[in-house]
Amino acid sequence: MKKQFIDFEVLVKLICINIMLISSFTLITTGKILYLISPKYRTLLVISVFIMIFFSLYLVSVLFKDEKKSFNILRSDFIMITVINIFLISVLISPDFSNVKSGLIKLKGFDIERHSLSYDELDLLEQKLLSEYNSMNTVSDRGVDEVVFTDENFSALTDDIYLNFQFYDNRHVKIKGFIYQIPAFDGKFFAVSRLLMICCAADAVVTGIPVDKGDIDHIFAENQWYEISGVFQSRIAASNGKNTKIPVIKLLDFKELPGGENPFVYRN
């Protein structure tokens, strides 16, 4: 039988692609993929997994050579692929992704400016865009007595509250999320927040509604999960040197939650 030799370059590539496959498969089957990418990319990732399986089978077919091939360990390609493998191995043993919210919160600013524009400041172009947005996203919660935030309606509801507050003023609300201490508005308010993911975790931003705790004597620790009940009210607050009208939740009741939930909500 003719002697066969292993092509080490192909072997390294085979290991690399299989690590990618195992990582992707694990993330998809455990559901942790939703901490990383928006659900709309899940199908594309599954297709990618199948194509990578095909690539892997091809590499197996060319793994053995009739002639011994010289292999220089210092070749840049090999070094690069090794770095890639190290990165991917670190992914496989990475801790629970749901726990990264504290890091992301400190890096992403609460998108205050967009939300605190008063109606007088909106020019005709933006009002046109807003009316188009409202016609596309009919929010069914406007007429109900108590507005309840869910994972599914969190993003659209938050936007609608800022843009059409007249429908929500003085209504009761129940919302669940993690505490974020808003740096703007002289630190008067904190927010019950989620991380809004457009495409992936890298572009996630903190989103939520400011809460006015009034005389309630409780320290709301950042990143701690709460379910709060309250009433929608408006406040005049200073942001970047100008007074703007913002919607807030006047706190009536709260319940501390154990946490560990998915902090992300997704823009459809």
Binding site: Y58, V100, L125
Partner: protein, 298 residues
Amino acid sequence: MIETIITIALSIFLEGIFFLILGVIASSIIEVFVSEEAIQKILPKNQFAGIFTASFLGLIFPVCECAIVPVVHKLLKKGVPLHICLTLLFSTPIVNVLVITSTYFAFNDHLYILFMRMAGGIIISFLIGVISYLTIKPEKSIFRGDYENVSCSCGCASHNRKSFGSVVKHSVDEFFDTGKFFITGIIITGIIQGLVPGEYMASAGRHFPISNIFMTIYPFILSICSNTDAFIARAFFLRFNISAVVTFLVFGAMFDIKTFLMLKKIFTVKFILRLLLLVFTLNILYSAVIEAAAGRFF
């Protein structure tokens, strides 16, 4: 902190892997089955019509910036004018269906970014073609003396066998060739996003032209394939002004270290540097126009 960096890097990787794979497969199919003669037949004889057509040719032949270099080399050898080849070189990596699709996915809630990217790719490549037609004489001094063999990224000199097997081989090799730059790019992006607080980045990222110049240097170094760079640009969207993000998407697809090294096999370094300066200048001018318009409408 490491957790955050890995989360950011991995999220961009998982988001973009499909488009990376799609890009290498499409590029491989074209490399194996589409001859340079076919491309030559499509190009009109009239110089300006040829430049205009070359600006849009990527819509039919969706290849990335590294795969187009060997194609351009072969077209030059077959006598296609330099200015048309240069237009093709800089338009095809941007104005193609796969890049349009990946950019749409990354910026589906801000589609004007997609339109600006495509418009920039068409306008700048057209201008490069016109300027090079009017000012550059294709003398021997701009070509390397030994540019006989410029191979495609898989390292094979030619694809004599038009077969599915050749497509698979080319796809796998190009997957790793372009994939390593993509993964390096997302790791660096993850480190930047993980270490630099948002307010610092925002304070620098919203000042023209500093932010725009940074967003030409950054993609030049990262050398990421144009099929996947939209996802990295997305990660900076809230911290940089619109013109800087568009600069990243347009300049990054046109010129990077990888492109520079591949062009070195065809042209002299002096000529490539002149080309780089031209591409850089046109991109900054285009971003200045966007900056002026954005100040009015956004």
